[in-house]
Symmetry: C2
Subunit: 458 residues, 2 copies
Amino acid sequence: MEEELIRKLKSIVGEDWVVSSKDSVAGYLYDETPPPLRPKACEDVVVVKPGNAEQVSEILKIANEHRIPVFPRGGGTGLAGAAVPTEKGIILSMERMNEITVDVENLIAEAGAGATLKDLIDAADKAGLSFPLHPGDEGAQIGGLIACNAGGARAVKTGVMRNYVKGIEVVLPTGEIIKLGGKLLKNNLGYDLMHLIIGSEGTLGVITKAWIRLQPRELASATIIIPFEEREKALAFVPKIFQEGVLPLAIEYVERNLVQKVADKLGLTWPCSSAEYQLMIILSESSEEALLSVSEKLLELCEKLGALEPVIAQTRKEQEEVLKIRSEIYSTLKPNMVDILDTTVPPANMVKLIETVNEIESEFNVYIPTYGHAGDGNLHLHLMKWDGWTEEKYDEVRARIYRKAVELGGTITGEHGVGCVRRKYLEQFLDAKSLSLMKEIKKIFDPNNILNPGKVLP
Amino acid sequence: MEEELIRKLKSIVGEDWVVSSKDSVAGYLYDETPPPLRPKACEDVVVVKPGNAEQVSEILKIANEHRIPVFPRGGGTGLAGAAVPTEKGIILSMERMNEITVDVENLIAEAGAGATLKDLIDAADKAGLSFPLHPGDEGAQIGGLIACNAGGARAVKTGVMRNYVKGIEVVLPTGEIIKLGGKLLKNNLGYDLMHLIIGSEGTLGVITKAWIRLQPRELASATIIIPFEEREKALAFVPKIFQEGVLPLAIEYVERNLVQKVADKLGLTWPCSSAEYQLMIILSESSEEALLSVSEKLLELCEKLGALEPVIAQTRKEQEEVLKIRSEIYSTLKPNMVDILDTTVPPANMVKLIETVNEIESEFNVYIPTYGHAGDGNLHLHLMKWDGWTEEKYDEVRARIYRKAVELGGTITGEHGVGCVRRKYLEQFLDAKSLSLMKEIKKIFDPNNILNPGKVLP
């Protein structure tokens, strides 16, 4: 990286906040995308750590003037390679901009882009409130969560990140700092640029600050695990829950062999071992009475539909252990993983998607570990290192699953996004007009294509 | 209107669905905007009533080719003149496309753009579900509700229209029919064009169909009216409710003299007469037990903060009467109204906004009737026909209130939108860059500016 650029960057953010030695940039090159799938990072990069939006603006102005690619980076927990610097350029790490304050009277957290999900959860909790979603890894940063419109396990009840973002401060690739929305529940002044930037994966602007809606805490929760002898039966149970008028905080699908492997690794016990395919249902209500009434409905439904005996985790410790195990499935699978799919279909169509998955498994004699947010129709299907398989064969399996998901009214990515790894599918699964509108929008925001180039759009 | 065009339109939608006589178009020229404020409609228009998206596409292709303005029209309940045909052109009334079906297993209603809010509420109810918001007049149509990102009284708990729209079918001004999203809780495939179109007030595309999220019914509700002797005290009470961990379905602010006038007109009784300034709080919970627990918290808060005696409406009939009265305030005021403002501020800042309103009232010796969605910080302030006032004086008052709202972190329109009536304020209250991005986006979607020209953007 050119000395002249480094000198300029240092003059903006200060000597200590620009690093470019091989060792010091190593931790900024990748995200959590499975290594066989992730793009190769360019190592000729400089990492800059701005302290405020004005510094971000100055950096982007220089980059725009000299056509230097800029790669915004949050917690690096993404699964689509959107934060990987694929060209020589600047990595913009938001880690220093991590202040967070809670305005209890307006139920709003004001968070710097570099504050983590854990920071947000803790800050809300300290203020006696809650951030209702749980959009993924707690090391994820606010800027990234918004840029990627993160989802997670609770979308079924609470919706995705987008629903809780009420305002953002953004620096555009051309250097302007704009504020969109604010501590506002309603804002209809012109086109909603904020919602366009949410989910644009760092290609339209750098989010530097956000105003996020919090809620009063729900006071009672329980986790119920329902085992099934077949995948189809487990997934077919999901729409029945809705039909019964029950809206859980989360409906997760897991497989016993996976959760037991994770539990062993963590020295914990998975509380349900009676069958392979399981729904883990988290109920959360405003009072113990309400929780009791909803739990009863759910248990009656199990009986009515002839499910196996459910297991109830009710103490905080039991519930936390179950969640801990669930949250570690990905990292346990990762060493042998080639791809984590993110297909999302209307929940009642999951059964049809899983039939295709089962067919592929028996046709090729492989196991496709499956878990995910069944309440949202968002299943993570894992392509693993299978003996003798080539990239072409993985592509074939992926294509079959993608086609089926879209045929069922679904999408190839519900929450992980496009990043690098799904760009090649956009032409196949988006209509030509939508894609062309997206490309023109990118040009309006970023005429010189300096911001996270090579991501999202093909 | 040219015979040739009328002939072409009839060949697309059929003889019966094109009308152009003065009498038959009269009902399509205006919306609910107060007459002193609304733009003048051009009467040289033809009203076309397409039956499906393909017909809409054919109409738009002709309009685009011949540069004929097209004005999409829903229920005509808007308050910003966005549906008024301000030039010679085609009014596209979506009234025939009013089919609605409910997919209970996926908690989704599929609704034609011309289905009304009442149709949606009824269809959800018939399916044993609910549409949680109540974004305004029940004669509003789905297409308009989405195009205008309608809000209404329940945003404090449920959010605005945007949060419930999961998919739309849209016809672009250049004629392409595209589908964005679907029966999907999560979708991160590229930039979110759907959320850009939501709130664009019919200027970027014609929404022809939508997939809308429903929810299980909440089973218990109560309406509590709390009277106060001062406006400030009533509004200052709102953030205290949140601080107490209570999230009502709605927190409406009303004034006794207004609701009593409406009640008299309707032959009903407003149940609370002990003081002028009142909060009407609707609680809605999943069970009677939960409702009881939340009500108790709220009543304790009243006692703690020394509020006057609250009145509780608990039977369905009492609650409906109160709602009915509340919903008729606008039409009662309308004959003497010059403008209904739609300022929205962070809820805890309403007190400061109302101080400015009180100052204006005493300075000019006028009464500014005030009511609205206090839980959202969204206050409707009404400029009335005051003796001897000129447009300049109304402008002055409006400007003072707008400046104050924005100074308090708010916006000049929370839910009613820009339409015609707020275009002139965009340059003042949006930064130049955001406005220029919006203008360029409009050009991408609508290169010949045929779709709802003269709306939203200055």
